[in-house]
Symmetry: C2
Subunit: 841 residues, 2 copies
Amino acid sequence: MTPYVYDFDEPSEGGRALLGGKGVGLAEMTHLGVPVPAGFTITTDACRAFMRAGGLPDGLEEEVAAHIARLEERTGKRFGDPDDPLLVSVRSGAAVSMPGMMDTILNVGLNDEAVRGLARSTGNEEFARDCYRRLIQMFGETVDGISHDRFAPDDTVERAREVYVAETGREFPQDAREQLRRAIVAVFESWNSPRAQVYRHTYEIPDDMGTAVNVVQMVFGNKGDTSATGVAFTRDPSTGEQGLYGEYLVNAQGEDVVAGIRTPQPMEEMRARLPDAYAQLLETMARLEQHYRDVQDIEFTVEEGKLFLLQTRSAKRTAAAALKAAVDMTGEGLITREDAVARIDPSQLDQLLHPMLDPDAEFEVAARGLNASPGAASGKIVLDADTAAERGKAGEAVILVRWETTPDDIHGLIQSRGVLTAHGGMTSHAAVVARGMGKPCVAGCEGLHIDLETKTVHIGEHELHEGDAITLDGGTGRVIVGEVALVPPSINEDFETILGWADGLRRLQVWANADNAEDAAKAREFGAQGIGLCRTEHMFFGDDRLPVVQEMILASDEAGRREALERLLPFQQSDFEGIFEAMAGLPVVIRLLDPPLHEFLPPLEDARDERMRSRIKALTEANPMLGTRGCRLGIQWPEIYEMQVRAIARAMKAVNRGAQVEIMHPLVGFAEELRRLRELTETVMREEAPELEFLCGTMIELPRAALCADEIAEHADFFSFGTNDLTQTTLGMSRDDAEGKFLTFYLEDGVIERNPFETLDQDGVGAIMRIAVERGRSTKESIQLGICGEHGGDPKSVEFCHGLGLDYVSCSPYRVPVARLAAAQAVLRAGGRAEYVVAGG
Amino acid sequence: MTPYVYDFDEPSEGGRALLGGKGVGLAEMTHLGVPVPAGFTITTDACRAFMRAGGLPDGLEEEVAAHIARLEERTGKRFGDPDDPLLVSVRSGAAVSMPGMMDTILNVGLNDEAVRGLARSTGNEEFARDCYRRLIQMFGETVDGISHDRFAPDDTVERAREVYVAETGREFPQDAREQLRRAIVAVFESWNSPRAQVYRHTYEIPDDMGTAVNVVQMVFGNKGDTSATGVAFTRDPSTGEQGLYGEYLVNAQGEDVVAGIRTPQPMEEMRARLPDAYAQLLETMARLEQHYRDVQDIEFTVEEGKLFLLQTRSAKRTAAAALKAAVDMTGEGLITREDAVARIDPSQLDQLLHPMLDPDAEFEVAARGLNASPGAASGKIVLDADTAAERGKAGEAVILVRWETTPDDIHGLIQSRGVLTAHGGMTSHAAVVARGMGKPCVAGCEGLHIDLETKTVHIGEHELHEGDAITLDGGTGRVIVGEVALVPPSINEDFETILGWADGLRRLQVWANADNAEDAAKAREFGAQGIGLCRTEHMFFGDDRLPVVQEMILASDEAGRREALERLLPFQQSDFEGIFEAMAGLPVVIRLLDPPLHEFLPPLEDARDERMRSRIKALTEANPMLGTRGCRLGIQWPEIYEMQVRAIARAMKAVNRGAQVEIMHPLVGFAEELRRLRELTETVMREEAPELEFLCGTMIELPRAALCADEIAEHADFFSFGTNDLTQTTLGMSRDDAEGKFLTFYLEDGVIERNPFETLDQDGVGAIMRIAVERGRSTKESIQLGICGEHGGDPKSVEFCHGLGLDYVSCSPYRVPVARLAAAQAVLRAGGRAEYVVAGG
């Protein structure tokens, strides 16, 4: 039978999936000769067996006992020995890093007698009592579910034990083996805690992966002034700058750093205070980075001057740091360009494109904290995670303001624009999570005081209340009262370098959705190779246009409509000219009028006369999404599309650098619709500009269009998948009516895994896209295929489109870099040259 | 080269498609030795060549000239001869009978000189001048497009010619060959007249079929008192009774009978007046029926005592007549049972199931006319076809009231509930069309007077206005002022006989959609073998229930909802008991709650308090069709479905004869939805009635469900295609917003051929159903498959479902007979044992 337990120095072939990230790291470090405490790993297999059986699997306890015996042999101490006890930590470690989500218990093996033995053997009673107090508290919280609030860091052992007895009705367990067994069970059980489930859900980590458990001999950073504990990175996780970066605390255990209860010291101070340990740490970390060929995030402890590494893992980092590190490491010859491209999380790039404070804005800084996660955001103060989650979901911009955050706050963090904490450092929970999510965080802000009872907040001199607006600048740690104007950030050289490498790898073109010249210019700046969706209806709004559009809609006959359309034509023409100029000859896909006409009329109560009132009534629809819109407008009132085509033709003639135009008819369901509209398009183009070339095609946004793509392709030069509407029709789900309502319930309750409006529903919408591609190509092998729904900027969806063999994806300008990178990674993964990038790492 | 022209006695292999119905009939009658005037047929090939070329095809005129020469030879008269001219009729004749839709011109060959020759040679100047007057009028109307109103039946030749000159600016053509050529062109052109297009569209006749042209030597029913013309049937086309049935007019030409200008005499009078011709007609018609093995509709002329048959065709008949004739002819050994089943038009059966006047209703008959088409209807008087079409489309019940109808009125007839005319007989346009459409017609109502100017109508003593209600009883010819209660008709023995034969042939089961015990009983009466859709939401309405439902919706928590549901349970249980009793152990598919909850709340302005108002607002949806409904309700608020399942279980236990229940979850899109709901269903059933068996399945009404049918089938015992919603989602078309709006435009403008909500869209919705069937069966070979959308009662859709291999179709109780017959015909057609039945004939 395959063993459930492996010593760190025992060879195993299971790797990360079996031993978890922490276990693999400890085993590898042991193998590399890095100073690591002795210990062993209980595999994820054991966890899965536990989940199936609802209890520890047969044989596991015996295996654990055997490995404890080995540990006793090696350390010369005995587990449960009242005189000089072997103490261990019990730590979870899943294959994917889930910081703060799983539970750790230190000092397992202490009891009322052994604490005295420990005091004797170390000659340090305070230390021994501190260890026991920590064990009782951690064990009580983690194993017995006692609320964190019941304990305090300055409790005595006696006080902690009283709380334990009061809360559980039992004495604290004195048997070391019972402590160990219950700790292992608690780690396994914590895999299915609500907060772990939310985290997995957010980062799309499979529920059946399970966690490993590491049982490690204790080393003590809390043995006095020559002891310390810390967290360090091989490069700065915020900027990617080379060189040791981190924080440590003297006379502390690891949890003190992570929990943000004491504000830690920068590493520079350790160099002075513990020079030997520091030098050894520096050398060891360089070795680890070289070995793993990636930025490492290390936990270490110095016990009476002696260094131990407790963990190493790939460091979570900001997008900017990820880019810089990848570019630098490529320059250092550590990794290839493909590696560099493969290891950037495309969805994280987004944070580089987040707004920053407008440099011209005037504001007063109310307080400062740590610049824990870059970017800027404004929003209303909210003081608890539940409210933040609720209001954020409802679309409000909120900033979560807390003393410190815990994993229980994860749902509130997800829905906030940013987070501000009074306690904790750069590696505190709030900071780590915010960086992973690419949202601003200011941590450890001493000028912040919160009164939960009165819902009042003091920031520096200001007294504010829940609901008042503040602005965070996570890049500098500034906190500002009120809203501040934001500007989009500029893109740095590393960004351009990586995207340049990505462009060399990808097959998919990346186009952008842009409705005007400014967006088109922005799109090109971000590297768009064309415009995949130019919505013309936006040109129907505007003070000078809307009244004319309304006249057109209210006209009683075709002549009246034509007269109004005649006046709209110059507006459209000049809009098109601007876009064509901006795109300088790159392809531009123009979608003719799509929304139902009632969108251009005021609400019924604002109608200015009886005629308008009756027209509004006549145009009111039960389900406007499925009503008279898209090409149904152009079929019934061809004069509208005629005007639009005419404006396109005239704009094409007017611009200097030429325009490569693709005219797109929306919402086609029947081949006959497109046949007619193509005829209309060609007739008008012939009249206006017989010499100009253009393409004519359709969106595929109805299931019927996909199913009949072979017939429709006879009249189409291109298909563009309108996956927003295709998702709505294929799933029978109106986005407006689903999000925040049953769809949110479905996501939270696990009925479905991902929001199909964000990440393409591959089994449903993807399946019907595949049908459309096959049938369309069966008629016209060379038909151009693209996607212009919002999914075009979602990395997973981009990869699907690559696999489907589309020619391009089109997304919002700000998503273009994301799509460029995702398209390159799709090539690498399809060729087995890369794995999925773990979110935020 | 294949000839374009065939003499009636010339053999041709083209048959009906080439020669048209009339041409084939004339050739076959000639072959059988039936007295038929000499002549020839210009083929539909020539018509198609004409339509392609936009003019007469090369060689056609020469062929016509050669056949005219042969006709001259045979008759001893010369075409254009001023002394004793050969006269011909030019008549259209398509492969499918299109009564009154195409144009006929009589007496071609007459001119100013020849009319005098004809007068001399017949010794009958009045007759000769009557013939010439008719030619000028018909030619003027048909070839030159002069309005019918410009001529009057009592015009003189001179007056007719004056009108012709005034309207066309030209003299009436004197060259017989020019007359013939232009007449042929006019027939070809009339194929594409708007009224012909509307007719073809209504009866789904292909546009490229084309018409043949028959050129026939004139025989004259207007040569005095021993001449006559008439229309006769071998059996009564209203009842199917055996024996000659028809009408004739002495001293008249055929158009006089059909146009309804003179009210014709019954055939009985002809027996007395023209006994020899009558006897010969009787014998000839018997021979023709024997030959064609079907009821024949014959046009005949008696010229100075000598009988000629001008046409024979299968008679259009009422559904009752079709059934009786088919049963009788099977009894007579003329046809087989399969023939009998094959030749009933299933959609026509519907008319047997139309409402009749309530026998207990008290009313006064205002006037009487001919009982021209059976059934009864009430509606508002409308005096012109355009208004009738408009109001009918808008959903108003209208009765078209006219002096007489013409083919130009066809769009108004289609949209009326019934038609009342002052003139015309059983074979008048109004009567023939109404019978074909299965709607009531009272024709030749002498008590009817119409004043179009004042929009006033006199019916007997009553003065009415447009918009006033009347009731027609087409079965008896009674006209009643106001509305009269109607009852559904009972089913006769012939009906049962044919359906019994159909049941012996079909493979598909026919189930019905029924929501209560009454409908269930009705469904069984019509032969339903189960209930395919029992909608439970109807049980949520009703004065005693709705307030409780509203309480449930307004409840602030689950406990409140459960409390209200508890009170609803007995209502649902007793409803289910009633249905189970009615179905006596046949399968009943119960669909759990489907509509969005706001349907149970009043409109916002009627909310009784703030709480209700805010709940209504919260439940308001942009696209309710795609919102929180179907199983999305059951997933979010499982207590609702729990109550429903509990009510089903208790009802199953309560009934004596057992209940075969299938619990259906609506709007499933994800396998996980059905997995959860199946678990819920099984849990409740186990609690309530562990001993009872039931099936659990889902509707397939979302494209995603079809695409993921393999996964969904893992949790489903059955699929039922909800093709109403599946059509809405696949086509992206809200029925409410499409019909009467763009969909009506699409149908009229020929963008699509059929209303996809009436006849299944096989290319789109059918294609996705096929995917669902294949994928569902790939997981569960034995999965039960049915359809419960309205298409389940549409013959074409039933045939598609047969081809798809479904187990049953389910439709409204009144459509069950239609579906039973259609299912049998599907078997016959799939085996090549039957062709499509031509609509109405």
